[in-house]
Symmetry: D2
Subunit: 336 residues, 4 copies
Amino acid sequence: MSKVVVGIIGAGRIGKLHAKNILLSEHYQLKAISDVDTNHLSDIDYLKAVPIITENADDILNDPEIDAVFICSSTDTHIDFITKAARNHKHIFCEKPISFDIEKTKETLQVIKQTGVKFQVGFNRRFDTHFKKAHDVVRNGDIGTPHVIKITSRDPEAPPEEYIKRSGGLFIDMAIHDFDMICYLSGQDVKNITVKASSLVNDCFSRNDDVDTAIITLTFADDSLGVIDNSRQAVYGYDQRIEVFGNNGMVQVENQKPTNVKVSTNASVTEDKPMYFFLERYNKGYIAEIHDFAQSILEDKPVVAKFEDGLQAELLAKAAKISWKENRTVELSELQ
Amino acid sequence: MSKVVVGIIGAGRIGKLHAKNILLSEHYQLKAISDVDTNHLSDIDYLKAVPIITENADDILNDPEIDAVFICSSTDTHIDFITKAARNHKHIFCEKPISFDIEKTKETLQVIKQTGVKFQVGFNRRFDTHFKKAHDVVRNGDIGTPHVIKITSRDPEAPPEEYIKRSGGLFIDMAIHDFDMICYLSGQDVKNITVKASSLVNDCFSRNDDVDTAIITLTFADDSLGVIDNSRQAVYGYDQRIEVFGNNGMVQVENQKPTNVKVSTNASVTEDKPMYFFLERYNKGYIAEIHDFAQSILEDKPVVAKFEDGLQAELLAKAAKISWKENRTVELSELQ
Amino acid sequence: MSKVVVGIIGAGRIGKLHAKNILLSEHYQLKAISDVDTNHLSDIDYLKAVPIITENADDILNDPEIDAVFICSSTDTHIDFITKAARNHKHIFCEKPISFDIEKTKETLQVIKQTGVKFQVGFNRRFDTHFKKAHDVVRNGDIGTPHVIKITSRDPEAPPEEYIKRSGGLFIDMAIHDFDMICYLSGQDVKNITVKASSLVNDCFSRNDDVDTAIITLTFADDSLGVIDNSRQAVYGYDQRIEVFGNNGMVQVENQKPTNVKVSTNASVTEDKPMYFFLERYNKGYIAEIHDFAQSILEDKPVVAKFEDGLQAELLAKAAKISWKENRTVELSELQ
Amino acid sequence: MSKVVVGIIGAGRIGKLHAKNILLSEHYQLKAISDVDTNHLSDIDYLKAVPIITENADDILNDPEIDAVFICSSTDTHIDFITKAARNHKHIFCEKPISFDIEKTKETLQVIKQTGVKFQVGFNRRFDTHFKKAHDVVRNGDIGTPHVIKITSRDPEAPPEEYIKRSGGLFIDMAIHDFDMICYLSGQDVKNITVKASSLVNDCFSRNDDVDTAIITLTFADDSLGVIDNSRQAVYGYDQRIEVFGNNGMVQVENQKPTNVKVSTNASVTEDKPMYFFLERYNKGYIAEIHDFAQSILEDKPVVAKFEDGLQAELLAKAAKISWKENRTVELSELQ
């Protein structure tokens, strides 16, 4: 196999983003796209090179030429598509979260294990150039053994109340990325988690039994410590920073800014605010994750963001919610 | 009064530092210095302008010309000197901690209140140019209402075991500065405190029932949150940073470096490590705090770091230790 | 016209880069590509959506449906293609330099003026997000009237001797970009130019009657000053910085780095070197320039990098060479 | 000799600054201060430890106990005091410039050479922590052989017209520091110098046959290049930066700011402007230079800023003025 023949299930914003990146990649051949409604795809120039545009996902799942599927449909359809794809021996790239139901997620993990297909979950931050370099610095031992891992993760503005209602809450909707990143950086299992959280940004959150501001602390298996601070609203832009402090040094990732321009006047010295939100900030991560997935298939290497990683982040989100609700430290062993 | 006539009790490292700064200040006249042993002071040129060098602190405490005393002697002598000085109507600058005994500290507060003298505790970080500016930005409302306050405070290297044994532990010895700073920045009372702490740097700490690494989270009265991370060893130098995040923005203080020199080669781009330790980092704060104390006396203004602030930091250190020992959140109301 | 129908003449590295960006743009329809040899294009997936792949440029120049041509062929063919395209009323995007012969360039300018087609020269740095913002800050008056404009422009490594032989020398090959940028930032005509230049990097340059290091100073019409420093070898990477200093302030553009990761150890604090070379550094500028060209056509607006700008930069390169050779200040009026 | 016994001639702003620093230094004993009028010195506390305060400089020059003199009087008195001090075998620290007359300066150099006393000129920037580190990086070979040295030197605001009239012009009054610094960094002789200069800040300069903005380029003996840009007015503060670019890398010194505080809001990210002017910026350099002078005497080591360095900077200032006036490159050999 010199190129991965691929089908995309679901052509919403994220599906089309993957389609464009796949078309530009020399590692893929994009054979088919399915969506519940394909009318909106007809006047997109760059899709004219795609042989099959269909409203039936089975056209992809049953196509023997297709090596891998990208599951970009709504979350409630994931488990079904994953199961069919795996049984048809197709490698799977699935957007996060795998499902809303931890028990079903656990069952599906068994299917993946039995069929032996590659499964990558869309934790694209692991493929961000900046965070990946920090990770590599840590793994390479440049800062020694990690003692404290710190993540700052703040959205530029609070979502509308309709979104909050359906989101599942800050821990599963927003902090899940940070849970994955802190585990990725640490390489250790989490022993326990403690949350302090408040509703300070606006009333929508408390009205929906949610919070908008949180400080989450974790103890890892080797007694090293982690801390995440989240806010639903950082008026100066998307705030995404990490710091790993070890016995031999520290690695830090600062925010990315649109430009490096600095203006000095008699009033002040000003520079750009951080990039606005995730599409700008993690743009390259979306390209890198599909590149890496192709490499995993073509060279039969393990994937970087595997099924178990998706499951682990969901467990931490659940534990965090309990810690907040019950105002106590939650041992991860309670959930297993 | 155009100048504050002053006596210094205790001429160790910190007492001599204050003496030098007082001599250079136009707001003070340094009349006397006492120490249990004055021999080591005889060949210091800049002390030749000081009229009285004595081994009897009472020469200072009873001198009617002296307006204010600097108490720089060992901590166990503080309460006695404070009480005498206050009763003799002298303003007091006292090094921290006020005492090792919270009950005695509380009693002495009553004496200060009765006599009406000015009392400043030596929390010199409040006078650090950088931290003070951050504080002023917050008070000025530039970032709106604080939601999250973060302090990173790491020493460059662990102290010797002898020091650890007598130090009272990380919370009272090291984090006490950070407790004061976080209260200073917040302006709110603390509701509760939760600690995760480990011994990761070396064995000395656990051997002496102490920790070397901690993440301390706090909830303030208005439900805003605070987090302090401490380590006894940052190999790259003294790591002293703060960040206050509010509904309208954020203010950050970065580390200070000896120089702004940057070297770019084909291997890397390198710059200076942070300043080594507190004498380098907070050098100007020692000058600013005595300047401010003089202003308080000469213009009859409130002091910036008052007796109650010293007491509050001691209470937080005590609560933190309980939180660590009992692995639970401690309400400040438990201690009052 | 809702989309610009376009043909590309010349499918080398830069032609293919434009082809990819045009395909991804919603403002263009890519109808045809010509190259002297089209065999190497057959297995490029993203070109499958292009209707005409031809070895005859006239298929493009004579196609009545085609609104605009991109001339990406070798420099000696530019004048011929420009003339034909203009006479056939096609808008023109032409890679730099327009030609190697200033007299022919001047004649061709007349053709462009007579036919009234849009003509954009490929000075992609004008479209770089960072430099463009600096330009806009200046035009907006934020720093007042420019007094001094400084450009640092250093390549990461010297080209091979074969390249040096054919390059025309540092001033026309390398500094030409900086001449365009300094004029773009200033908005003023240049009165005179003075060069100090040396051969310090290696022997290839002096052997070929060229230099590798230069400091070029300019006086603008309003007596404000400019300075460019060039080197053919900056071992730490591509060094591309600008600074405009005015009576009300200063705007600076720093280098771009691959990541914002910083590593602190007991040895040093290190960060990334600048991006390696122009394809990395000016990547987005290549996209922005074709976007802007489309806007100029679709909305009938003036182009940002026009024919006269290409001519002006060539004149400055010529004057710089004379200044170096004759070791004197050259008035631009001498060349007109 | 364990301490240098010292007298200060001239107790203006700079003389008093040296007096304070000398008193605080353990390497000096300050025996005497002379000034044409000593009344203003009587109520300065820190001068009470100085045994002799006199209006007759000879009391210092003839005192056999005094090892070294600091000449801080007006420039027209320098040559006379230097000559007397040298003949009385006293080491000399002299403020810059040595004199206004290059021929007299050259003659006095002979006296210094004959008597063999140490002579240090007050080029305090050589002792600035930041610039000194850059110098040491260059000398240490970390960036290889210097190819281009760049200095930016801009004052925060233009001086009053009265000052301009008497200043001798931008090159001798302001650029002289930069001439010394560029020679210090290069370690090479200057072959020639070319100036482009304008009057852009205000009318006072052209009215007095002076300029306020200049770009000065230099060729060193090894054909490496230097460039200095000066302005009499940088509204954002004192702008003092250097960059040395070599075949193996680059070293840069950025501006110093009062604090490292950064404020992010939805409007912008702002930080401090540079320190206001030379007293703030070079504060530590004044302490370091007298420390180094004492070391030179006590350990019989060469001084860092010697008589010849003062002479060389004066020659460059003269050549720069000729280059500007005659609009041509000036060979340094013309002046010797």
